[in-house]
Amino acid sequence: MRVEVDSSKCQGHNRCMIFAPDVFEVDDYGFATVRADGEIPPEQIEAVKHAVVNCPELAIIVRED
């Protein structure tokens, strides 16, 4: 499973980083990106799902491939 942040939607509210700090990081302005290559380690899947349903802008995309 892979995760990415749609930078055209992200408004930098940092909810993702609160729920899954090992997966997301934010720049100096608070905008989010995914660490490493976006592949979600199995132990982070729950945390990422949490981030997805709590992102105010629906900016986090998870793909099953």
Partner: protein, 387 residues
């Protein structure tokens, strides 16, 4: 369709007493409608309509103001009353001071302030933790953050009462207080210009460059003024409404005492259900139809965040306060390009306030059951000490 379903809908003052029932009725029977209050406005009560309007900033402009009625000034407040493209330059100026990392740095001070205030209100068996705790905390933090003398915090609270809570009954008084604040803020800006530079909010404002030109004096003032009206009573209200709930729900209070890890999701839930900002306004830039209703260019449109936050289509058991709710995307801080700049700070202050009060003081219960859930007024509680 050319209908304009009319409802006597208001979202300030006493209307808040029963507003959750009002929302329910609106969502069921009149999710988009017209109210004659405040010069007349459309309201959107559904979660999805609010979200879509917030994303479509080109159609739903924030000019002349997001506030309805006005907040003691006719000047556009920055960045809240500014549309793109200029909006993002203003926002970027201060964003770095509101990231989670920046808020982490400030947290020890928030904690210490909360502890001192908690110890003070805990000295008597019956205390007003609205006025003695919920209100001073954000004001003291705010003074430090913006670089004002800390001992001035109580002045800010008095101004907030006149500007925000007086505006629907006495607009002239609200405007007078607005001018007093602007004079106060301006004196501080002038003073800071004489002092060595410092990287705080005021420091960033006075040295700002917007689209390649230096910021003007009016812009500095309109930004500083907005921070003052946006950051104080909102946070105080959120702290008070969280404690209001806990004072009336001993099982949940006990659960948070046993398991403080739950405090952050509980606060999220209080923000969703008892939020300080029940609605914000926009203005339609062109004719547009929402939910079959003909909104005309120039019409005011109120986004009823508080109703969207309790929409059956967005949440299971929306009117129930579930302190460990896991899926909680809400509009307490709005959404889209204008979503609250101070959300990380506001949220942190509420979490720390709840945690420190529970940690330092014995179980408390509401004494005056007439005190409403909303506002920043008194919250009288009795501490139940072991005999």
């Amino acid at each position: 369709m050319n209908e304009r379903p009319v409802r006597d809908f208001d979202f300030h003052g006493a209307a808040l007493d029963t507003i959750f029932d009002t929302y329910k009725e609106l969502r069921e029977n009149c999710p988009v409608g017209w109210s004659d209050h405040y010069g007349g406005f459309w309201f959107l009560a559904k979660n999805e309509d609010i979200f879509n309007a917030e994303q479509d900033w080109a159609t739903f402009s924030v000019a002349p103001s997001m506030l309805l009625p006005a907040f003691g000034t006719d000047e556009p407040m920055i960045p809240i009353d500014i549309d793109p493209p200029v909006h993002s330059a203003y926002r970027k100026l201060l964003l770095p001071l509101f990231t989670p990392r920046a808020v982490d740095d400030l947290t020890p001070f928030v904690e210490q302030t909360a502890r001192d205030l908690a110890d003070e209100v805990g000295k008597s068996d019956i205390a007003d933790i609205g006025l003695g705790y919920a209100r001073p905390l954000p004001s003291i933090i705010f003074c430090t953050l913006v670089g004002y003398p800390q001992e001035d915090w109580y002045l800010f609270d008095e101004w907030v009462d006149r500007i925000i809570y007086g505006r629907d009954v006495n607009p002239a008084e609200s405007e007078k207080a607005g001018n007093e604040v602007r004079e106060y803020l301006w004196a501080l800006v002038e003073k800071r210009r004489q002092e060595p530079p410092k990287d705080d909010i005021t420091g960033r404002l006075i040295t700002a460059v917007i689209d390649g030109r230096p910021i003007t004096d009016e812009e500095i003032l309109n930004y500083a003024y907005l921070l003052f009206v946006a950051g104080l009573d909102t946070t105080a209200w959120a702290i008070r409404s969280s404690l209001w709930y806990l004072a009336r729900n001993p099982e949940d209070q006990e659960r948070l005492r046993r398991d403080p890890e739950l405090i952050s999701s509980a606060v999220e839930e209080f923000l969703r259900t008892l939020s300080p900002v029940q609605a914000m306004a926009r203005t339609a830039t062109k004719d547009v139809e929402v939910g079959g209703c003909p909104i005309k260019q120039g019409d005011r449109v109120v986004l009823a965040f508080g109703s969207g936050n309790r929409d059956e289509e967005a949440y299971a058991n929306p009117d129930e306060i579930v302190i460990d709710r896991e899926q909680n995307r809400h509009f307490a801080f709005g959404v889209g390009i204008h979503r609250c700049l101070g959300s990380n700070l506001g949220r942190r202050e509420v979490i720390v306030a709840v945690r420190e009060l529970l940690d330092r003081l014995p179980p408390f219960e509401a004494v005056n059951l007439d005190e409403p859930w909303h506002g920043v007024g008194p919250l009288t509680v009795r501490f139940k000490r072991e005999a």
